[in-house]
Symmetry: C2
Subunit: 353 residues, 2 copies
Amino acid sequence: MTSEPMSHRYVLVLAGGRGERFWPWSRPERPKQLLPLARDGGSLLAATMARASKLAPPERCLVLTSADLVERVRAECPRGTRVIGEPVGRNTAPAIAAAAMLFQRETPGASFAVLPADHAIDDRDAFAADLDRALTAAEQERVLVTIGIPPSRPETGFGYIERGAAAGERRYRVATFTEKPSRDRAEEFLRRGGFYWNAGIFAWRADVFLEALKKTRPALARALRGLAESQDFQTGLDRVLPECESISVDYAVLESADNVMVLEASFDWDDLGSWAAWARRQPRDERGNVLYGDAVAVECDDCVVVGEGGIAAALGLRSMVVVHAAGATLTCPIERGEDVRRVSDAARARSAR
Amino acid sequence: MTSEPMSHRYVLVLAGGRGERFWPWSRPERPKQLLPLARDGGSLLAATMARASKLAPPERCLVLTSADLVERVRAECPRGTRVIGEPVGRNTAPAIAAAAMLFQRETPGASFAVLPADHAIDDRDAFAADLDRALTAAEQERVLVTIGIPPSRPETGFGYIERGAAAGERRYRVATFTEKPSRDRAEEFLRRGGFYWNAGIFAWRADVFLEALKKTRPALARALRGLAESQDFQTGLDRVLPECESISVDYAVLESADNVMVLEASFDWDDLGSWAAWARRQPRDERGNVLYGDAVAVECDDCVVVGEGGIAAALGLRSMVVVHAAGATLTCPIERGEDVRRVSDAARARSAR
């Protein structure tokens, strides 16, 4: 696929998400990336690792997750994968920077792809080809490459990347980043064209990324220096991560660096950020209902009914989500899926009383 | 309250209902009469026994339930109450006839009140006074007295009693019985007046009832004769009940007998036949929601949310029932409460697969 020495390539999988949008199916001890949401019935993490395997062998795949999930995450990964627990969550910038330091120390001049663990991507070949192309550009041109997803709807929950001057086939300089726009702006982006969703999939050389971080976020770069002194990555991470600010890589680096490129994805992509998104990919019964597990729907239309460890029954509903899982129940209109977090917060507060 | 010798009076409580309308809160091992649906937070059965205690002492109260519920039912009854398990359900006529034979054998000339175990009645004094009046009439005039509830809405799920000639204060001969009328007929009944709901609350002498049964349903009377030969009521019931036809007392006796009277109730009454009926009697939050147990409602209006043994969470719903109980979940519009049985049937069928 490329002439570049593949042994310089690593993959970093970020598997720290809490996935509260699928509560009560998802929960702290089984977040979204561990749910059987992939099309093959496996977890999104396992599917991510299968895609990663086309980019690097297991021993050069690093999975970062929260400390309490390490064993469950490891069970979804190919043997030999390095799974490391973060003592605290500090968003993506510190995690990616720490991984960059590890890779650079092991393999000077290393490049790596950053993959979120909880997205759905079906076309593995197109994915591998795009990432190879992104890595090659990152290696040869010392640029920070972000994968841009051609938007299919005026989604307000994503970040948008506006492309600038062309820099190669499906590759562009980045003109602007926009975090979660209003509905009006999102519609304008789609109308104007030249905008992509920021999927959190990146490719860069470790040294190039760390140089950029030093410029854009020097305090964070300094906070991470202690890692270099630790013989063991886990020990070092446990020591330095709590001292880092919690900040996304988009905000810490990409929005400020001057060597950022966007590569337009040729693969399908879905962040499965809600019940509605998951349901779009599931088989439906003759009345449009998605039934999963112990689910019963009587005179229902266009509903999502999930029963795990118990029966979820719906009667006479339209466009509703009914979930019974882990000893709890959620019911809401499908279009309110973005707000499930508010309910899980309220439920947690109630449990804590 | 009366000059009649009270030691002739018994109470029969019918506690055999399965209460599938409250599934999954109710279930075979905890049917509606055992749920904490009474206003004081206790079970409807316990509340029924408290009312019964004004009519007869525990040793002259007989509770018939299904064999597998005997211990749970006994736990809700005053010490000394006789609780007998029916080996099979045969509707009300055989159960009442068997009890009549028992009472008549123990106390020739005995009278008794028949009380369903799963209705809600708050005014215990009015109830006791009405039943005393009904029993007195039954004893003195050898009539079969049924309590008529003044209807407050054109309910189609109840039987209606049309009153005939006056026979005393709030007492009338019965002109007609109508089982579950159409909506149109129910509305006509309310418009015309002189109709009552049949609440399944009766008062009569044991011998008068058995004479009537012999005339209206001779085969059933014959099938029960074996009871008289058994020294022990439970043993006799186990032997004869399976041989009896399953038939309601209304259909077997009241609709055919010529000595039936209706006494207009002066007490409140609700059969709590649905979630909506139960909710009408519960406190509500400022948006009209009834929250019971581990229940969370976010941006909901006029909903019923019940969480038992786990959290039930509702988001953005209007006039819905959300129940999490006994490891199962039901969601339906409140007005579909009458159809819950169809879901519990489907859920059971699913479990049995």
